[in-house]
């Protein structure tokens, strides 16, 4: 695979959220404001780069019996380091993200890339793959956050964009956008949009719609 493809395919064609449906948990919880989404994206991308880099370096030395536990240890250490740095330099942000930085350990994207890519590719390619997947995750997270913050609070990055009805303007915030469930709808709409352009992403139906006439006969 060409280097350019490794970096760019995870953005749309192999996006971890919209195609593989991974990392949904944090995408729902942390996408209420653009600033938290950007911080979370940066945190996940740095953990991903570190874990792909380290695991790719060690890939020939890893006995398959302890492979997973070693990967998890490496990912967990990277997450703790990122969490500590956030706590020290951006305590307010660290509070806003609550448990979700810690939960990057269980984010399937990280372990997924380690297993599926870093274990079988060279260091340079693994880093590109990590950056690509980090950007793919970030793109969706930030897109969802833009919609949610704009419609839910009338602002972007905390800067008021739509004048709120409560303060004399015309815009009534959509309360639904403040609850995590709204991210389900937005992500679903994004998936719909992507798959109507890229038909090859459409999955085969798991079940055939039941034919009532056939059954009653």
């Amino acid at each position: 695979m060409r280097k350019r493809d490794i970096l760019l395919r995870p953005l749309v064609d192999e996006n971890p959220i919209t195609l593989q449906i991974l990392g949904i948990c944090s995408a729902l919880a942390i996408s209420n404001t653009v600033l938290t989404a950007l911080t979370m994206s940066a945190a996940l991308t740095s953990v991903l780069v570190f874990s792909n880099l380290t695991i790719s370096l060690l890939r020939r030395q890893l006995p398959s019996s302890v492979r997973l536990i070693v990967q998890v240890t490496i990912v967990a250490s990277a997450v703790i380091i990122v969490d500590e740095i956030l706590r020290a330099y951006a305590p307010e942000m660290s509070r806003a993200l609550t448990v979700y930085v810690g939960l990057i350990i269980t984010n399937c994207i990280v372990l997924g890339r380690a297993e599926a890519f870093a274990m079988s590719h060279r260091v340079g390619e693994s880093i590109l793959d990590a950056i690509g997947n980090g950007l793919g995750y970030s793109a969706i997270l930030v897109a969802v956050a833009v919609v949610r913050e704009l419609l839910g609070a009338g602002s972007l990055l905390g800067i008021p964009i739509l004048p709120l009805a409560g303060a004399g303007g015309w815009f009534r915030p959509v309360a639904l956008m403040l609850v995590p469930a709204s991210a389900f709808f937005i992500i679903a709409l994004i998936i719909w949009a992507v798959r109507s352009r890229r038909k090859q992403q459409v999955e085969a139906a798991d079940f055939r719609p039941c034919d009532l006439q056939e059954r009653t006969r």
Binding site: A29, I30, N32, L58, R60, Q61, L62, P63, S64, S65, V66, I69, V70, T73, I74, A76, S77, I80, I81, E84, I85, R87, A88, Y89, P91, E92, R95, T98, V99, Y100, L178, V179, P180
Partner: protein
């Protein structure tokens, strides 16, 4: 060495664990100084918000926060008697450490444990607003169980030691996006001007859904729909800390002191 031999597996596991633990502890040790500073300033920000000296926790930069924070006088209060304790290092008192130290804490009887804490420290660090005798108001630390986590914050009372000046919470781990909506500025602002005690001096304040026969609006903050449990627990914890078992005796003394000429 064969990659699949047990010896190799053990070596790799121990090696990775060792390197990782060194990395994690090095980060921790390197970050401790800035960590400690950040936490103190962060708390000071919330004290200012509760005291009505800052519109929100992020309103001022660190220097401005410190300057305004110095206008307050920290006092160590013996909760049982309500007497201010003379302690030169009062400002560095760690109430959280004290609450789990059997020497410095007392068990709370089950039927009076509104905040579901189990134990509380004997002393608490309050902040007097200028002119520092209670007639300017006071900021009191509060904490208690929410739905999942222990919530820590400050509540500020005005010169009458009854009207709420402001309230601010600095630590919690309620459900993100659901329970943690109690941090929304509009809801916290709705606390301003509510009275804690009724005409007869009994505690009337509560956080609850409006209903017939409930507390009148002057004593009630509306619970957040969808976060009712968290809201009501916060109300209960305010009731506990401002009630007769905690700051009640101290507020009594402050009121006496203020009414004297």
């Amino acid at each position: 060495m064969n990659n699949d031999s047990p010896l190799k597996a053990a070596l790799v596991a121990v090696g990775v664990a060792f390197v990782c633990s060194v990395m994690v502890s090095t980060t921790r040790v390197l970050l401790v100084p800035s960590d400690a500073g950040a936490v103190d300033i962060a708390k000071a920000r919330h004290v200012l918000v509760a005291g009505g000296l800052s519109p929100s926790a992020g309103s001022y930069d660190d220097n401005e926060v410190l300057a305004r924070f110095r206008e307050l006088r920290p006092v160590l209060v013996d909760l049982e008697t309500g007497i201010e304790v003379d302690a030169p290092d009062a400002a560095s008192y760690d109430q959280r450490a004290a609450a789990i130290d059997p020497e410095q804490s007392v068990a709370i009887p089950k039927d009076r444990d509104l905040a579901q804490l189990g134990r509380r420290a004997k002393y608490a660090l309050a902040y007097l607003l200028p002119p520092h005798n209670g007639s300017g108001g006071v900021v009191l630390p509060v904490h208690g169980k929410g739905m999942w986590s222990t919530i820590y914050g400050y509540v500020g009372l005005g010169p009458d030691l009854n009207t709420i000046h402001g309230v601010s919470f600095y630590e919690q781990a309620e459900t993100p996006g659901v329970g943690d909506r109690f941090l929304e500025p509009t809801w916290l602002a709705s606390w301003r001007g509510k009275s804690i005690y009724g005409e007869d001096g009994t505690l009337r304040f509560e956080v609850a859904l409006p209903q017939a026969g409930g507390s009148p609006a002057g004593h009630r903050v509306d619970a957040i729909s969808g976060a009712t449990v968290t809201s009501e627990r916060i109300g209960a914890m305010i009731g506990y800390w401002l009630g007769p078992d905690c700051f009640g005796p101290y507020l009594e003394r402050l009121r006496d002191r203020g009414s004297r000429p």
